[in-house]
Assembly symmetry: C2
Homo-oligomer: 403 residues x 2
């Protein structure tokens, strides 16, 4: 990914990053600020074992009624399973950031962590780095680029996406970044994603737009079915573009929502493409299910099947594994009606094998993107999800993550 | 595993095997017969996409009211997604076997297949091999050993287990064998297992004993969460030991049920230990859950977590991944009460990290068997499941299974 161009930076936001020693090397602390008060909306992990910063951010969002000033993020330590001390550390981090930024109330800061679970947090390293982090914040492509790297863990590259549109002659910009790369699963499963926009949107409407965009993007990707304790997707809308505030579902809302979904879509797919060890992006479309929910369950079961994912890593047109995965999704359907295609080649019709050129299919599956379509011919339910292949590298990365 | 000794063979059973060319090399067709009429009980896959032999065996079991003569099994081709033709092939296989064995009704034969899904079945190779298969059947350790190899697919070794007990001075013997090795998950997920016993048990009581034994053994193991289209667990009890028939839950029943569970337990653990690419057997015990069902869901979510399984492959005491997996099981619990131990070392208490010797823990996890205990301290629900680690070899095996 090339660095973002300055023209894409939304107005009124600053970024900075620091290396405070939570990771063995590299940037591990990032700050994203709105220089003016901002609306905010967030989605958090659904995991029962939530990390301390998730609790603190949820509390701050309630206290500030969705009015935020910034987000401070560390990588290298999840601050999870750290007890009351972990809560105190997350709260102190927000408090110190708010104070240094401008004597704000601590509830105007969101705090996020990503990294290993259950390690003590060397919190002094974080709090001592905050004053410099605050002083050095800039509205620049370089500063944003550093922020995107500071939130990375096993990601092999920074991930960012932007969109813009014009209302009444005024340009509105959205700029987001995200980190993966394992533990990705619907319902906000390990990942952090932050979107800054100079659109003006009321908190309520912003929440709605974020929920809708996430349903079709972040909640439709999976790397390994594991969901994390720390996931957070946050959007700050500070109105610095000077457009009128969006307070309800108007045509302005639809423009904004489309741009927000565009950014979320790009970030979500970047996460899957950079899934741990991934070599291929797999798009799974399930059609003709009894309901949308049924289609989604089947699509996700296929997307998380180790046997399907390893077959794709070997570019093996083994569509029988897709049928078998669909069959165990816990959703009723008639296997005798099922049609399956991989890489655009139809391999199964009415539940039975079609003859196809195995060699050509193998070649097709060697591509960077592999579409899989399953048509159940039993209704109108449809779902689209994205995953990646399961490779030896995934095992290598995760068998030695901490060592 | 050493070959079975002749003394362990149950009376009145014969075995044989043949290489009919379904696999590239080696035995791929097996026959298990009772030389006298036998009670039978079976459990089949819960996958919606059932293979043809599953339909045919289910039908035969109903038609014969649980009175069986034998089981014919092929490996190398699952006869799944093969449409009406697949049903005809499975039915013909049973019919020809029944005829050759003694002009029996075809419903007295169970038919099983395992292998690749969606390939046309070269059925003549099977039917032409049946006469010799029937003629060469023997009550011998060698013949049983050949049968155990004929049902293998990616298994690296044959799996068998035996048990015996004495009633009124008469010896009762049970002898079983099984094949794995990927696609293993509760509710009869890919595996075939056959148990022959000279106990005398009515079909109804036999079904009950099998259900109870499977719940604690075959339905408590998982390799990759993938469940198959072909799984079958069958037990034949022919009464050739000469003991009185067990018709209800008596002390004789309990002796038989204990022996049956012993055989199922051994076979189930052998399947996990020989899981594709597996290097370690992992036993996961979840205690203190709100209910048994809740404990089971959490235990299985941990057992299927790629992040937990890769950590164990790297002997990494990364207990945070266990907490994160428990948290996404969809079962309410209080993370602040959770205790976790790996390899007998306590690593987490009341949801927070305990200090422990990482080096010693790493050494402990390098063992062949890794116990994991999670205590939720919120009730009396308990569950025990077994899985294996996820290794690079799993990916290698499954990325190239068909090539």
């Amino acid at each position: 990914m090339p660095p973002v161009s300055t023209a894409r930076l939304p107005r009124g936001f600053t970024f900075s990053a620091a290396a405070c020693g939570l990771k063995k090397s590299g940037l591990d602390l990032g700050l994203l600020c709105s220089e003016v008060p901002s609306s905010a909306a967030c989605l958090f992990t659904t995991n029962r074992a939530k990390a301390a910063p998730v609790f603190v951010s949820q509390m701050h969002l309630r206290q500030s009624r969705g009015r935020m000033r910034g987000i401070i993020v560390n990588s290298g330590n999840a601050n999870c399973a750290t007890g009351t001390e972990g809560i105190a550390i997350a709260a102190t981090t927000a408090l110190k950031t708010a104070w240094e930024l401008g004597r704000y109330h601590p509830s105007q800061i969101l705090v996020c962590s990503t990294g290993v679970i259950g390690l003590p947090v060397p919190w002094r390293r974080i709090t001592e780095a905050i004053p410099q982090l605050v002083q050095r914040r800039r509205t620049s492509a370089v500063a944003f680029g550093q922020f995107t790297r500071a939130i990375m863990t096993t990601d092999t590259r920074p991930k960012w996406a932007s969109a813009s549109y014009t209302i009444a002659g005024k340009r509105v910009r959205l700029l987001g970044c995200a980190k993966g790369a394992g533990m990705i699963h619907p319902q906000m499963a390990t990942m952090l994603a932050f979107i800054a926009t100079d659109a003006s949107v009321s908190s309520n409407v912003l929440r709605r737009a974020l929920r809708e965009a996430a349903a079709k993007t972040f909640n439709a990707i999976t790397v390994d079915g594991d969901t994390s304790t720390n996931d957070t997707l946050a959007v700050l809308a500070n109105g610095a573009s000077g457009v009128a505030e969006i307070r309800n579902v108007s045509s302005e809302y639809r423009k904004f929502a489309a741009a927000l979904e565009e950014v979320c879509h790009s970030l979500a797919l970047q996460i899957v493409q950079d899934g741990e060890g991934a070599e291929r992006l797999v798009e799974i479309v399930v059609r003709g299910a009894a309901s949308e929910r049924a289609a989604e369950r089947i699509a996700l079961t296929i997307a998380n099947s180790p046997l399907v994912k390893t077959a794709i890593s070997g570019a093996d047109p083994n569509w029988g594994r897709i049928l078998a995965a669909a069959g165990r999704a816990g959703v009723p359907f008639d296997p005798e009606r099922v049609g399956i295609s991989m890489g655009g080649i139809r391999m199964c019709n009415k539940g039975s094998a079609l003859s196809f050129n195995e060699r050509a299919a193998h070649q097709r599956l060697l591509g960077k993107q592999v579409p899989i379509t399953v048509d159940l011919h039993s209704g109108k339910g449809m779902a689209r999800v994205w995953t990646c292949d399961l490779t030896e590298a995934y095992v290598r990365i995760n068998a030695s993550y901490r060592s």
